[in-house]
């Protein structure tokens, strides 16, 4: 009897998940200015705060995600990233005013006010979303020779996802839906991604188990 593999996710599924995460990151980032502007205005420095926080959060996420991928990479941990990112995005929807108001009152300079608000609202969910990329690479890589190829493929889909999130949000979503509705959309998409990972992995693992027992019987 063969031990089940830690994951049996097909590559295209992992790529699709990375796409979803890329889309979510940029959807949230594009809404960031909209969320902060009632308190900190629409000046260039507010955008600067948001982009800085996203960049730093992603870089930390990449580091941590890469580190986590060295310990038996598996589908359950992978799904957990998506669930955690979804849950940690909820304060953006539910607590934005409660978080921004005291900052607005305490800090006069909108540059630092928006920076701190961005950290509190966006750092954690974005860092978690950042963990998904290196972890996805690890799940896709089966051999050293393929690692660069898989990393390239992964960057390709997740960055493409980011482009879709950016364009979709700024051109259409804000015209069709309220900010919080769009954010709920991102949360639901992340949760659905987590479910898909678990279900597909379960099914695929059953498949491989069946196949391997068949082989054993035949042998």
């Amino acid at each position: 009897m063969t031990k089940p593999k830690p994951h049996a996710l097909p590559r295209f599924v992992i790529a699709a998940m990375a796409f979803v995460s890329g889309t979510s990151i940029m959807t949230i980032e594009m809404l960031g200015a909209r969320i902060l502007s009632p308190y900190f205005g629409g000046s260039l420095s507010v955008w600067g705060s948001i982009i800085t926080v996203f960049m730093v959060a992603l870089s930390v996420g990449y580091l941590v995600g890469g580190r986590l991928s060295t310990r038996t990479p598996n589908a359950a941990t992978y799904a957990t990233f998506f669930i955690a990112a979804a849950v940690c995005s909820l304060p953006i929807i539910l607590l934005a005013d409660a978080i921004m108001e005291p900052i607005f009152l305490a800090i006069m300079d909108p540059r630092y006010g928006s920076l701190i608000a961005s950290v509190l609202l966006f750092f954690i969910p974005t860092a978690i979303l950042g963990m998904i990329s290196p972890y996805s690479v690890r799940l896709m890589v089966q051999s050293f020779e393929h690692s660069g190829h898989m990393a390239g493929l992964l960057f390709f889909v997740s960055t493409l996802g980011s482009a879709v999130g950016t364009l979709g949000t700024s051109f259409y979503f804000v015209l069709w839906w309220e900010v919080n509705e769009i954010l709920w959309g991102a949360v639901v998409a992340l949760l659905m991604a987590a479910c898909s990972i678990l279900v597909i992995n379960h099914l695929a693992q059953g498949q491989t188990l069946k196949q391997s027992t068949r082989y054993e019987k035949n042998a």
Partner: protein, 300 residues
């Protein structure tokens, strides 16, 4: 009607372009790129103009006659003074959006005792207004480089109020969407008293007109809508109290008109132009902090 306005705008643009192409073309005396836009200062004869993003073909501009600095050149700047019909003696004035400074300068000249706070997000505009448009701060008139929304929010928290508020931040190519929303107007209300009047210089064309009208009506109830055929701008004039009868406006206009003559404001013509008719699509969605795609709506 909207079509006609648009056409007359286009015609005006054509005239401007033709004038610009003539040998006596505008001399550019200053150009700079600020954080927010390209700023150009031109001069033809004694007419000096401040243009934003001229390369992109925006016709948004504010002009001054260097030999008659206080005279307002454009209808839309003069129209802001219609707000005085509701409060003829403002003591605390707030102007959001400096531009060439013509509105605050005229107000400061007419009401030297009044405290005037001007808020401008772009420090380059403040510099250019001072250097090229003779704008000067006085003990009573101060400029704050800040975004209008946090400035007003803070003023409200401090319990400050203004009795004449001019929102003139919408004449750029990019609309500050956070200053079109219900929540913003509620914050403006907090700095208003029963004597206060709000004058907002906004748009008369595009889908945004409907959305914006719906939003102002939601927050203020009935307001005066002020349009002139010569300009694509419209001025919203609102107050907390129910609007006064038009006959009252006429008597204020008669009392005030002479003193506004030197700024070129034909105040006597204004009362009959102020309309409370609902000429917008009332089914349009309210603009809120959650839903405010002003820039997308304007393009449609």
């Amino acid at each position: 009607m909207k079509k006609m306005l648009e056409r007359s705008n286009k015609l005006a643009l054509l005239v401007v372009l033709l004038l610009a192409a003539m040998p006596l073309s505008a001399a550019t005396i200053h150009e700079e790129k600020s954080k927010y836009r390209d700023i150009t200062v031109t001069q033809v004869g004694d007419r000096r103009c401040l243009l934003f993003n001229v390369h992109r073909g925006d016709r948004n501009q504010t002009c001054m006659l260097v030999n008659d600095k206080l005279r307002l050149v454009f209808d839309y700047t003069r129209m802001s003074f219609a707000g005085l019909l509701l409060n003829a003696e403002p003591k605390r004035i707030l102007v959001i959006g400096l531009g060439g400074g013509s509105i605050p300068m005229a107000l400061s000249d007419r009401y030297p005792q009044a405290v005037i706070d001007v808020v401008e997000v772009d420090e380059a505009v403040v510099r250019v207004a001072k250097e090229f448009f003779y704008f000067q701060e006085t003990p009573n008139m101060q400029v704050f480089v800040d975004d209008g929304r946090p400035f007003i929010k803070r003023a409200g928290i401090r319990g400050q109020s203004y009795d004449f508020i001019v929102l003139d931040a919408f004449s750029g190519d990019y609309i500050p969407e956070h200053m079109l929303t219900r929540e913003f107007l509620e914050e403006v209300k907090l700095i208003m008293t029963p004597e206060s009047v709000l004058v907002a210089n906004t748009f008369s064309t595009s889908r945004l007109y409907d959305h914006e009208s719906v939003t102002y009506q939601h927050v203020f109830g009935e307001f005066y809508n002020f349009k002139l055929p010569s300009t694509g701008n419209r001025i919203i004039i609102a107050q907390l109290e129910p609007l006064p009868p038009r006959s009252e406006l006429m008597s204020v206009a008669r009392a005030l008109a002479d003193s506004l003559d030197k700024y070129g404001v034909p105040l006597l013509q204004y009362p009959r132009r102020l309309s409370t008719a609902v000429d917008w699509d009332g089914s349009r969605r309210l603009l809120t902090d959650q839903y405010s795609p002003g820039n997308l709506l304007q393009g449609n």
